[in-house]
Subunit: 121 residues, 2 copies
DNA sequence: ATTACACTGAACCATATGGTTCAGTATGGA
DNA sequence: TCCATACTGAACCATATGGTTCAGTGTAAT
C-alpha cells in the first residue's frame, strides 16, 4: 500500500539520517560484526549500539542472529531500491522543472531581443 | 570535508524521513507554492508548514523568497546527487557482499563434494 | 564452582521533532 | 482609513531520539 511505502520510507530514511548508523552499514558491508565489535569501533556503550542496530533492523537494513552469547549483525534484506527510485524520480522532476525554467528564460531572452530590434527600428 | 558531508547527509536524509515533507517536494516539483497553499494541501497550520519548509530549506531542498506578504517556495539547489551516490555505493557493496557469500557457498559445496569423493574412496 | 564475557532491559537525561495556539506585524485591497 | 490576508515568533505540549548507567541473565572458559 501507499501507507506501507510511506512508513517504510520514514523508517529507512530516518535510519540513514545518522552518521553512526551509516557507519555501521559501511562496516557491515565489510563483514559481519557483533554488537561489541560495533560498540568498540564507534566508541559507544553496548546499549547505545544495540539501539542503533535496532533502528537499522526495523528498517530492514540489518538482520541479527544470536548464537551463544554473541549477537551477529549482518546486512539485511533492504537494498534501498525504492529509496533510490524515489530520489531518481525526484531528480528527474527537478531537471524537468529546470528545463521548464530554461524554457522560460529562453523565451524572455527572445522577447528582449525582439524588443531591442523594435527599439532600434 | 567529511564532517560537512556527514552533516549534510544528516540534514537531507532527515528531511526526507517525513511523509509530509516528501509530499511538499512532490508538490513543488509540480509548481511553486506559498506557505498557505502548502498548509491547505496538507491540512496543517501555517506555522506547522513553515517549520517543515524550514527543515527542507536547511537541507537545501527548497528555497523561499518573500515578496509582499506571500512567501513563495520552490525547489532548492540540492539535487540529492550525493545522497543518490551514497545509496548507489551501498547497493554495490551489498551486491558484492552477497556475491562474496555465494563464493563462500560455492567453496563449501566444492569442499563437501571433495569430502564425499574421499569417503567413497 | 567461579569468574569473565556478551548482551539485555529498565530507568533516566537532554535535546529534537512535529504539531498546536495565540498574539503580533506587515501588506494589499476596497 | 479599515479590514482581511499572509506570514512570523514565542510558548507550549507530547512524543521520539541518542545517549548514558545500573542491575540483571545467560553462556563460555578455567
Amino acid at each position: 500500500m501507499v501507507q506501507c511505502n510511506q512508513t517504510h520510507f520514514n523508517a529507512s530514511f530516518a535510519a540513514l539520517a545518522d552518521a553512526t548508523r551509516r557507519g555501521v552499514l559501511d562496516q557491515l558491508a565489510r563483514g559481519n560484526a557483533s554488537i561489541t565489535d560495533l560498540a568498540d569501533k564507534f566508541e559507544m556503550t553496548l546499549t547505545g549500539m544495540k539501539k542503533h542496530v535496532g533502528v537499522l533492523e526495523l528498517a530492514g537494513l540489518v538482520t541479527t542472529e544470536k548464537v551463544g552469547r554473541v549477537r551477529t549483525c549482518r546486512l539485511g534484506p533492504c537494498r534501498l531500491e525504492e529509496e533510490m527510485a524515489w530520489i531518481a524520480r525526484y531528480r528527474q522532476m527537478w531537471d524537468m522543472r529546470f528545463e521548464g525554467l530554461d524554457g522560460v528564460i529562453d523565451e524572455l531572452k527572445r522577447q528582449e531581443k525582439a524588443r531591442g530590434r523594435k527599439k532600434r527600428q
